[in-house]
């Protein structure tokens, strides 16, 4: 009934390993994101080939991060999986609904500034963090 690899190496050891692995992939993704963003201006003088290579590398590392995140989620116990599911569901919903409403405001020229994707990413990150903290406290 238990389909986790816990009995071989210890459940908690596996969670720690998967969390560390996710941390490494996330750090690598952030680093390649920074290189892809700042490289054209500061490192290779807008060489298109270099920019495409940097973005491609960022995409590949991003796929690795997604796989690491999936493995991390699978390593968690059922209560923490439920917390993550609720936090991610709420984040996705708020990101989609508020993000598109924000975009509509920009299209209709109701807001004076441009609606940037970064604003939605910040909103989603803060929503995820706040929901995760709230749900974890609720379960105490």
């Amino acid at each position: 009934m238990n389909d986790t690899p816990s009995h071989r190496e210890g459940w908690q050891t596996n969670v720690r390993r998967q969390t560390r692995r996710l941390g490494y992939w996330t750090a690598a993704w952030l680093l390649t994101m920074a290189i892809a963003n700042f490289g054209p201006k500061f490192f290779w003088d807008s060489n298109d080939l270099m920019t495409i290579a940097a973005i491609g590398l960022n995409l590949l590392i991003g796929i690795g991060m997604i796989v690491a995140n999936k493995d991390h989620l699978r390593s968690l116990d059922e209560m923490h999986q439920k917390i993550q599911l609720e936090a991610m569901g709420l984040t996705l919903g708020i990101g989609l609904v508020v993000g598109l409403a924000y975009s509509n405001l920009d299209i209709a020229n109701i807001v004076s500034f441009d609606a940037e994707i970064a604003h939605v990413v910040i909103l989603m990150s803060l929503t995820y963090l706040a929901t995760l903290i709230t749900l974890t406290r609720k379960m105490r």
């Binding site: 009934m1 238990n2 986790t4 816990s6 009995h7 459940w11 908690q12 969670v15 116990d77 059922e78 209560m79 923490h80 439920k82 974890t136 609720k138 379960m139 105490r140």
Partner: protein
């Protein structure tokens, strides 16, 4: 759902962390189950029943029928 996890654990003089390790879950999850804030899945309930040598109904009771 009510449960006797805390009583059964105390009878064996186990800490929440020790029980968590035996059931392959986190200490926080054991705490949440004991306080009735989280209902375990059927596989976890079976693992607990096996560990204590009892039936699931001896550990977990439906609040409405209790």
């Amino acid at each position: 759902m009510k449960n006797r996890l805390k009583v059964l654990r105390a009878e064996r003089d186990w800490t929440q962390a020790q029980l968590a390790e035996k059931l392959d879950v986190s200490r926080q999850t054991i705490n949440a189950i004991e306080k009735g804030k989280f209902d375990p899945s059927l596989p976890l309930a079976f693992r607990a029943a096996r560990l204590f040598g009892l039936s699931i109904e001896d550990i977990f009771q439906d609040q409405d029928s209790a």
